[in-house]
Amino acid sequence: MASVSMPRLEEIPDKELLALHAAGDPHAFSTLVQRHRDRMWAVALRTLGDPEEAADALQDACLSAFRAAARFRGDAAVTTWLHRIVVNACLDRIRRKSVRPATPMGDDATFDAVAPKLPDPSDAHGVSLDVQDALAAIPFEQRAALVLVDMMGYSVEDAARVLEVPAGTIKSRCARGRARLAPLLRHHRNRKEARNVGGVEGGGVPT
């Protein structure tokens, strides 16, 4: 028998992998997932905060995408479609857990928890934990927008496609979210000039 050349799935573009999957190829979809799962995981973990919930959401998303692949419309990037499914899976998780707050701590508790870390603002691990805690304190829609735009580096337009809302809505959610995060994260600021913080503690001055 003549040799069968082995196609290297790793080199096949996303859309063709999806088409192969829809045609019954048993390995195409897992190749696609392996290609993008690191970023999908980052989106899920940052959006949900809780690793266990995020793991469930990522798995839900992978299985949903597996089943929905035949309905993928080729006019969007596959990554956009995958991230949309991840975000929706996260939202689904949050709705199921609606009796439980997204964060185990309220805003005040978050603030108290991050404040003692002041002595070492350059500690990357500490900053990362604080960022996660602070993100957990803002509404889901703002968090999802900021995760995509500020953390994952999506353009506003791409984030709008992922979340299926107008670009202006993304901008607004990002602005609201940053405004809420600013007082929670300002102790990590590392600017050299003297701070002039008199009267502005707590996130703003009465207008």
Binding site: S30, C62, R186, P206
Partner: protein, 245 residues
């Protein structure tokens, strides 16, 4: 007081995103020009974006990667009663094992046992059967666009007496095992000869009763055909050591 109306984070965030109308943006900018505390708040906002961007990306835990591979492999096998999202609510670590185990048991030839596995203390198991292949756009017998199987080198110590069971265990974990380089011409010829041209579910370089062997498995409906062949197997001489199925 020269600044009767200090700015807050919301207005400054809107300004940064270009969400303020022209007149408001002009007055806000004018205020910023003369108010250091508000410029400081504005810098806080810029730092928020910087801190978010600099947060190190979390790495995917290896066990989660393996778990998703297993779930997708079970789904990919199609004939497994994959537990639906709704049914999996509230279940924790073992549920993926359930799906994988169910897939294996079904392949072994019995849905009853699979049902038992899936029950696992869940009173909704009567509705667990899903139809991953019911989608008419994905007939299970559709011709494959390309032949895609790759050998694995699990190093598993198979025993002749328990070969079929061990193969089923391997299939449950196949997606998580280290993949060997693609099959070369001789191995492809060997596998095609042994399976009669059917795509193998498993081609695993391992040992059988202590001796080097290549384990090849093919699914046929609910049956599992398993061969152990000598590593020198070729299209001309398959050197079959054992065949169960």
């Amino acid at each position: 007081m020269t600044h009767p109306a200090h700015l807050d984070y919301d207005v400054l965030a809107d300004l940064a995103e270009g969400l303020l109308d022209e007149a408001r943006a002009a007055s806000v900018n004018e205020h910023l020009d003369s108010c250091a505390p508000c410029r400081d708040l504005s810098a806080d906002l810029a730092d928020v974006s910087r801190l978010l961007a600099e947060a190190p990306a979390p790495s995917l835990p290896p066990d989660l990667a393996a778990r998703i591979d297993s779930a997708l492999a079970a789904e990919s096998r199609g004939d497994a009663p994959v537990v639906s999202l709704a049914e999996r609510r509230g279940r924790r670590p073992w549920r993926i094992l359930s799906a994988a185990a169910a897939a294996v048991v079904v392949l072994g030839g019995g849905g009853l046992v699979a049902q038992t596995v899936l029950e696992g203390g869940d009173d909704t198991s009567s509705t667990t059967a899903q139809q991953p292949l019911a989608d008419p756009t994905r007939p299970s017998d559709a011709p494959l666009a390309v032949q895609v199987w790759r050998p694995t080198s699990s190093g598993t110590a198979y025993r002749a007496a328990t070969l079929a069971g061990q193969v089923r265990d391997r299939l449950a974990q196949a997606a998580t095992s280290a993949q060997a380089p693609p099959a070369d011409e001789r191995l492809t010829g060997c596998v095609n000869r042994v399976t009669g041209g059917r795509p193998p579910a498993l081609v695993d370089r391992a040992t059988l009763d202590g001796g080097a062997a290549l384990i090849i498995a093919v699914r046929a409906q609910s049956r599992l055909d398993v061969w152990a062949v000598d590593p020198a197997c070729s299209a001309d001489d398959p050197k079959i050591l054992q065949h169960t199925g």
